[in-house]
């Protein structure tokens, strides 16, 4: 595709061309030169450790036995070694930086070429885009850099991380990727966003203190303090460190992660940002949310706070454990009405709790003494909902169009009680949809009905480039007018 206006690199193209050119190729661009610095800085701890080990080995092994320990020599040697290693790392970092370029090709896909010894070319089909994250790891943040993660649907290694761009450039690039994926023109790159929710720091702190893990930790700690005092034993103190330490660290980690959590709305999806030391930004494109779950630990009930977990296809899968930051959490804590309104934006119409619940029969009291009152399922026009849990109340919602398969299971005890469990299988993620201990006949009927609903909802699914999507009620346009999907 030859364009009259030269595709100058990056964001400097203020020329408004009237032609609705969807596929505009850009020329290969490097990441920011400071990448080299950040890479070297990142390796300093490892270098120091390696140097220390080498120095200790050579120093203690050979020199200490001699009468006069040549301390100065050892230190100087160590420093020289460090410098050499650092230079090697820096050289390699420079080479890999200079070989890495990224650009959009003629068909609008993102290309990343890299590799010093082995050339590597990757092409990410943006029509299958799952998420674009802008993260600021601590070291990168110090020098004002950010990394961009682009993830497309697919198993295995289906993501690319661009390290590092200036923060502004990273955001512009994110917008560009999203705009292209949505089928907009790439130069309409600043998608407006307006903040919907910000989680107040006080609320976050309080919610973490009131969460169930903390609660269990506190109870265990009190118990162990009692034991330690009574028995005057050291074992109690060790146990105290574990039971007291783990919840504190867990809560602190969550606090750092979810600090300043904001949810903003933009045409390319919901944007989630959070983080104290390193900032994570994640965009959840609409229609990629497979399931959501409202969670309410015991002590949140008085304030009616909830946490919202989401399963996004391609993110947070069981097979790739190295998911970043906030994946899976749509809201760490929010009052229920706020949470419901946010959920309404990712899955329209599903923020409500207003269903015709089918509760589990009271005879399951013996099987599930704690949670039996809260066990129920419901099915609306658009979604299947399952409620469970007592200490942590959970309500899981899955749209019919996202139901992958339906399970009905029954153990021996359940058979005696004439009940069965309904499970709706969804894409891998934090949410599982379990309708526990439903009346057996009802459960079978609901499983059959759910399979039918899943089948029916399948027919109405929209295309992948959501900005070009027709309104869901109208019939799809004739073949050839829709952009190629998938």
């Amino acid at each position: 595709m030859s364009e009259p206006s030269p595709p100058s690199d990056g964001d400097a193209s203020p020329v408004e061309v009237a032609a609705p050119a969807l596929e505009v190729a850009t020329s290969p661009t490097h990441t920011h030169p400071l990448t080299v610095l950040v890479t070297v800085m990142r390796s300093i701890p490892a270098l120091l450790a390696a140097g220390l080990v080498l120095v200790l080995q050579s120093g203690l092994g050979d020199v200490v036995d001699e009468i006069d320990v040549n301390v100065l020599g050892v230190v100087l040697g160590g420093i020289a070694l460090l410098l050499v290693l650092g230079a090697v790392v820096a050289g390699f970092a420079y080479l890999s930086w200079s070989r890495l370029t990224y650009y959009f090709d003629d068909s609008g896909d993102l290309r990343v070429d890299s590799g010093v010894l082995t050339k590597k070319q990757r092409r990410l089909a943006l029509s299958r885009l799952q998420a674009v994250d802008v993260n600021q790891p601590l070291l990168a943040r110090v020098v004002g850099m950010a990394e961009v993660k682009v993830e497309v649907a697919g198993t295995g290694d289906s993501r690319v991380t661009l390290q590092y761009l200036t923060f502004a450039r990273a955001q512009a690039f994110r917008n560009e990727v999203l705009a292209r994926a949505a089928g907009l023109r790439p130069d309409v790159s600043t998608a407006p966003q307006n903040v919907i929710v910000t989680v107040p720091t006080g609320d976050l702190l309080l919610s973490l203190l009131l969460s169930s893990t903390t609660l269990v930790g506190v109870v265990a700690t009190v118990g162990i303090v009692a034991i330690a005092v009574l028995s005057e034993g050291a074992i109690g103190l060790v146990a105290l460190l574990i039971t007291g330490g783990v919840p504190i660290f867990a809560a602190f980690g969550q606090f750092v992660r979810f600090f300043g959590f904001t949810v903003a709305e933009s045409p390319d999806g919901l944007r989630l940002r959070s983080g104290l030391t390193s900032t994570q930004a994640q965009t959840v494109p609409p229609g990629r949310v497979h399931a959501i779950e409202f969670e309410q630990p015991l002590l949140w009930r008085r304030k009616d706070w909830v946490r919202v977990q989401i399963t996004v296809a391609g993110a947070g899968g069981a097979e790739d454990g190295q998911q970043s930051g906030t994946t899976g959490t749509l809201l760490p804590v929010a009052p229920r009405p706020v949470a419901e309104s946010v959920v309404d934006r990712v899955l329209p119409g599903l923020g409500t709790m207003d269903y015709e619940w089918v509760p589990a029969p009271s005879r399951v009291r013996v099987r599930a003494p704690w949670q039996w009152r809260n066990l129920a399922t419901a099915a609306s026009e658009t979604a299947f909902v399952a409620r469970r849990g007592r200490i942590v109340r959970r309500v899981a919602v899955v749209p019919h169009a996202r139901t992958q398969s339906v399970h009905l299971t029954q153990g021996p005890w359940q058979r005696r009680l004439d009940v069965a469990t309904v499970r709706v299988d969804v894409a891998p993620g934090p949410v599982s949809v379990l309708g526990l201990h439903q009346d057996a006949a009802t459960a079978r009927a609901s499983v059959d009905a759910q399979a039918q609903r899943a089948h029916a909802a399948r027919q109405l699914a929209g295309p992948d480039r959501w900005m070009t999507a027709p309104p869901p009620s109208t019939p799809p346009p004739p073949e050839g007018l829709t952009p190629a999907s998938g």
């Binding site: 649907a153 296809a313 069981a318 299988d425 295309p463």
Partner: protein, 165 residues
């Protein structure tokens, strides 16, 4: 019992059951694993422990063998599948019963596998995968041509029904 069976009954036509050769194959695997272990344990203890120990081990081993032998028969006979207009039903289990319904539109791929033992008995396993990792709809113990035919039918309907991801 009949009411309970009703819960896991197929909607209209009956379940298609799997080949009884699967029973033989599984019993063979059971014997090959269990018998040597029990024998070795009994022999070792026969020289090192009082006489009742190897006797008990042998008795328990035999009991487990008989029980598992019987269980395999029941369990394999409990496998069944049923192709409906819009979805596939798979059932299994005696003690812990299971029924999986997979709408054709959600199938991402269909696997046909046969290990060496399966092959020597002339049986294969057909496994359906969806985007959910937990779907887990496997039908073991199908005759190879039946499995291939099922796979082809499933792929055909899957292609018709699937609209995208």
């Amino acid at each position: 019992m009949s009411a309970v069976d009703g819960v896991f009954a197929p909607p209209s036509e009956d379940w298609v059951r799997v080949s009884p050769k699967l029973i033989t194959a599984r019993r063979l695997v059971l014997s090959v694993v269990l018998v040597p272990v029990v024998l070795v344990l009994a022999l070792v203890t026969a020289f090192t422990a009082p006489g009742w120990v190897p006797a008990t081990i042998a008795a328990v081993g035999l009991a487990v063998l008989v029980w598992a032998w019987w269980l395999i028969g029941r369990r394999v006979r409990s496998y069944g599948y049923c192709e409906r207009a819009d979805d596939l039903l798979v059932t299994s289990g005696i003690l812990f019963r299971r029924l999986v319904i997979v709408p054709y539109g959600r199938m991402q791929l269909v696997d046909v596998t046969a290990g060496p033992i399966d092959r020597s008995f002339g049986i294969t396993t057909v496994q359906l995968h969806t985007a959910a990792a937990t779907s887990d709809a496997a039908i073991p113990g199908l005759a190879p041509d039946e499995a291939a035919a099922l796979r082809d039918r499933l792929s055909a309907v899957g292609e018709q029904r699937s609209a995208g991801l």
